[in-house]
């Protein structure tokens, strides 16, 4: 078997260097972001339909959500 572990199955632990606390006054956990910020700092796991190119689908998404800029993570054409 020449199979190797895909990067998504590599397990890492978190190790502690020092104790510290975070002040709730600043920042915001990702799941509590207000919608306008959530859109600005958002990703969509889109199910690309058959037919249109990845580029076209990205342009539609941008239009549907009324955002200024969007990009996709790898063409699905080849």
């Amino acid at each position: 078997m020449k199979e190797t572990t895909p990067p998504w199955e590599v397990k890492r632990e978190v190790v502690i260097k020092q104790e510290a606390e975070t002040d709730p006054k600043y920042g915001c956990p990702p799941d509590q972001r207000p919608l306008t910020y959530h859109l600005k700092y958002g990703f969509i796991n889109l199910d690309k339909p058959k037919g249109p190119s990845s580029h076209e689908v990205t342009a539609w998404t941008k239009k549907v959500l009324g955002v200024g800029h969007a990009g996709h993570g790898g063409t699905l054409e080849v």
Partner: protein
């Protein structure tokens, strides 16, 4: 082709490189041009695992020189006459149509790819939070016309999901704003970190609230960072968080 197409909105486009470089998984149908016995098909599929050589196809967007790609796994799921259902996990930039053609040549009868669906791109998977354009459009209209935020909020994932597979360092509140202004990450600012970090590895710099601050390049291993008291541990490469979210202390 259909399947997982991660889309980055606005500021998130800064982490697209991470998703692009991430591994991919596909499920597809190979159509054989002749009859071959099952045993042989299974053998040849197994030959196309590990380091393989590929020359990008004519219509590729990269230079057409021979290069190696790593195939993590390549499995036959089902065979029905001349149709072979397969699943392949591979390094980014692997041309699946080409691999299938080459498998056909190795089998002697020739083959082509009849259908292909991407089931994973980096951290994004088919069976987790996959949405359609229709879902998005419906949720957007509910927000704009009825003021309902929840449906849209649920369909959009935070930028942090795009760097889920990277090693991480977590910094103190007092270190955050300097990094937002481009400063490197120094050892006294680090609270906790991932195991197995190697120098030169790309990593994500986080706040203690699990917010992504920046992408950076490790200058030290996990062990060195734990051992040392000062020095630059991570060189900041791409800042995602806007400045002035955390207090300025420098």
């Amino acid at each position: 082709m259909t399947g997982v197409l991660p889309i980055a909105l606005e500021e998130s486009t800064k982490t697209l490189q991470v998703v692009l470089a991430g591994g991919k998984e596909y499920v597809g149908v190979m159509k054989l041009h002749g009859d071959v016995n099952v045993e042989k098909i299974l053998d040849v599929f197994e030959e196309f695992v590990g380091e393989i050589f590929q020359r990008p196809p004519l219509r590729a967007s990269v230079k057409r020189r021979l290069r190696t790609r790593n195939i993590y796994y390549n499995r036959v799921l089902e065979i029905d006459g001349r149709n072979v259902l397969f699943k392949i996990g591979c390094q980014s930039g692997t041309y699946i149509r080409k691999i299938i053609h080459d498998i056909g040549e190795a089998l002697g009868c020739g083959a082509h790819m009849a259908e292909l669906r991407r089931t994973r791109a980096g951290p994004y998977m088919e069976n987790k939070n996959l949405v359609t354009l229709q879902d998005l459009s419906d949720a957007y209209i509910r927000w704009k016309e009825k003021g309902e935020e929840e449906p849209l909020k649920r369909l959009i994932l935070p930028v942090e999901t795009s760097v889920e597979l990277l090693p991480k360092v977590y910094v103190k509140d007092t270190a955050v704003d300097a990094i937002c202004h481009g400063a490197h990450v120094t050892i006294p600012g680090i609270v906790k970190l991932s195991s197995k970090i190697k120098p030169e590895e790309l990593l994500a710099v986080y706040t203690l609230k699990e917010e992504l601050i920046a992408l950076g390049r490790a200058r030290m291993s996990t062990e060195e960072i734990l051992e040392k008291d000062y020095g630059i541990a991570v060189k900041t490469e791409r800042v995602i968080m806007r400045p002035n979210v955390y207090p300025k202390t420098w």
